[in-house]
Symmetry: C3
Subunit: 255 residues, 3 copies
Amino acid sequence: MHAPIELADTAADVLARIRERAPRVHCITNSVAQQYTANMLLAAGAVPSMTISSEEIGAFVVGADALLVNLGTLDRERKSAVETAVKAAADKELPWLLDPVFIDRSPPRAQFGRALLAARPAVVRLNPAEFAALSGNQAELAAAARFAQANATIVALTGGVDIVSDGDRRVAIANGDPLMAAVTAMGCAGAAIVCAALAVEADPWLATLAALAAFGIAGEVAAQSAQGPGSFAVAMIDALHRLDRATLRARVKVS
Amino acid sequence: MHAPIELADTAADVLARIRERAPRVHCITNSVAQQYTANMLLAAGAVPSMTISSEEIGAFVVGADALLVNLGTLDRERKSAVETAVKAAADKELPWLLDPVFIDRSPPRAQFGRALLAARPAVVRLNPAEFAALSGNQAELAAAARFAQANATIVALTGGVDIVSDGDRRVAIANGDPLMAAVTAMGCAGAAIVCAALAVEADPWLATLAALAAFGIAGEVAAQSAQGPGSFAVAMIDALHRLDRATLRARVKVS
Amino acid sequence: MHAPIELADTAADVLARIRERAPRVHCITNSVAQQYTANMLLAAGAVPSMTISSEEIGAFVVGADALLVNLGTLDRERKSAVETAVKAAADKELPWLLDPVFIDRSPPRAQFGRALLAARPAVVRLNPAEFAALSGNQAELAAAARFAQANATIVALTGGVDIVSDGDRRVAIANGDPLMAAVTAMGCAGAAIVCAALAVEADPWLATLAALAAFGIAGEVAAQSAQGPGSFAVAMIDALHRLDRATLRARVKVS
C-alpha cells in the first residue's frame, strides 16, 4: 500500500465509485463550512445533506451512506444532533468520521470530543493542535499510531504532510499546497471527502488514504491557476471534479 | 405565452423591473444556501434579508416585497420563524414561495410542508422526489397540473426540464445546464429569483416562468466559461447580473 | 494623518503586522457572512473563529486578539453570545467592533444595538440607514463626529465614501468600487478586517483608517478583472491577499 502507483490507483478507483454510486453523506458541520463542504462533496459526485434538527436527524442518518461529525461552531442544537446521529450511525453500522475542530481552544468542546471517541468513529481527522488537545501528546507519527491503536480508530493527522495510522500501519502523504491553509473550512471539506470514500470503500484505511491523496492533489492542480486564496478555493472544486487517474499517478507523494 | 419570443421579453421586462425597483426579498432558507442565495438576489438587483429570529421576523416580513420559505436544515428556530412569517405574509397579502427541500427524506418535514400548503403559497418549487413526497403522485405534467389546481397554487417542478403549471396552463422550460445540479443551493437560489420576480410582477404565473427561464439561461451562459462546478457557481452570478434581452431571446426554449 | 502617502504607509504597515502576527479574530457574525468573513480574514493573514455557543464563547474570546460583533441574523443563541462575549472583552480589555446590521429594519435589534453602545466598542461600523436608526440623525460628517464624541467611540460610516471620525478628527476615504455593494456580507467582511487591524495597531483610529483604505483599494484592484459580482467577490479575496505598499500608495484617496 505504500507504493505511490498503488495508492494513486486506489484513489482513482474510489473516486470512480463515488461518481458512479453518488453516496449520501450526512454532515453535521459548522456553519462556516457547510456551503464549501456541500460543494466539494457534489464536485466529487456525492450527495450531501446538512440538517441538524433533532427531530429530523435520525431519518437523515438512516438514509445516509456515511456521517461526518465536525465540532466547529458547536451550539446547543448541533451538540444534541451529534449525540442522536452517532447513536443512529452505531445502530446502522454506518461509518462516521470525527473532526474535532478547535478543541484546543475550548475545554468543554475537548471533553465532548473525548466522549465521542468512545463511540467509535471509523476515522478521526485533526490538526496537530487538536491532536495534542485530544490525546495529551505531541503530534508526531508514533503518538498518532499509539492513539489510533488505543482507540481502535484511524487517525488522520493533517497539515503540511498528512499522517494516517490505524495503529499498525503508518503512511505519510506529502501532497497539497500551502494555499489550502488560507481557505476556511478546507480541512472540514477534506474530512467530508474521506466520508464519501468511507461510503464506497469497505476498508476505512484505504478509504482515508485515497481521499486525502486525491484531496491534496486537487489542491496542487488548483494552485497552478490560482491568483490567491479566493480563486484557489474555486479552482479546488473544479480540480476535484475533474481529477483523473493520470494526474493522481503523476503527483502522488507517499512514504 | 408559449411563444419563446414572448417569454424572453417577459423575462427581460421582469429583470429590468427588479434592477430598477430593487425589491426586498426576505428569505427563510437553509444555512447551506444563505450566502449563495443572497449573492444571486443581489446579482439580480434585489435586496435580500435572512433573519430567522422569532422576535424580529415579523418586522422583516412586513418590510419585504416577497417571502421565500425554504425547508432545508429545518431546526427549531427556523420552523417557528416559518410559522410567524407565513402569517405575517398572509396579513400583508405578500406573495410567498414554498421550497420544500428534502421532504422526501424526512417524514416530519413532509408533514410540515403539507401544513404550509394550506397557507396558500403563490408558488411551490420542488424537484421530482419532493413532488412525489408532497403530492403522493409521480412527478409528471398532468399530476403537477392537478396538484396546482387542487391547491390553488403554481407548481414549478424543476429539473432537467422545468415544468410550470397553475392547473389550467402548463409550460415546459428546457433551459439550463447539467452543472447546475453539481452546485449546492442552486435550486434554492432559483426559487429566490422567482420570489424577486413575484415582487415586481403581479401575475405569479408570468413571474415564475420569467424567473425560471432567466435562471436557466444564466446557467447556459455560465457553462460556456466554466472549468467545473466551482467556477460555474461563480460564473452563474456574473451571468445573471449581466443577462440581457438579446441573450434571453436567442436562448429561450419553451414548449 | 490626512496625507494620502502617510495613510497608505500606515495601511501597508498594518497589513504587514497582520501577516506576521496572525492575530486571532473572534467573530459573532450573521450566518450569511460567516464564510466570506472567515476567508477574507485568512486572506489578510488573520485567524478567524466563529462559534456562538454560550458554553464556549468565553474561552474563544479570552484566546482572541479582537472581537467582531455583527448583529445580522440575530437569533436567540447569537444574542446571548454577544452579551457574554462583550463582557469577556471588557474584562480582558480586548478591542471590539460593533456592526449593527439592519437595525433600521428591526426595532428590537435597534434597541439591542443602543444597549451595546454603552458597553464601549472601540469602533462602530455602519451604513447611513443604520446610522440614522442608531443615532436618530441624518448620516453626514458632523453628525458622525458628534455621535463618536458622545459615545467615546470611532464611527466608521461606510458607503460610496467611507467617513471615519473619533469626534475630533474626521477623514473621508473615497476608495472602493460599486460592485462591493452587489456582494453579500462585503461590509461585514470589511468590519472584520478592521478588527484584525485593531489587534495589531494600538491606536484604533489608525487601525480603522488603515483597514478601510486597504479594503477599498482591494475592491478597486478586484474590479479590474471582474466579470460581475460573482468573480468580483472571489477577486477581492485574492486582491487583499496580495495587496502591497505600491498599490496602496498609488490608489489611496483620502480627504
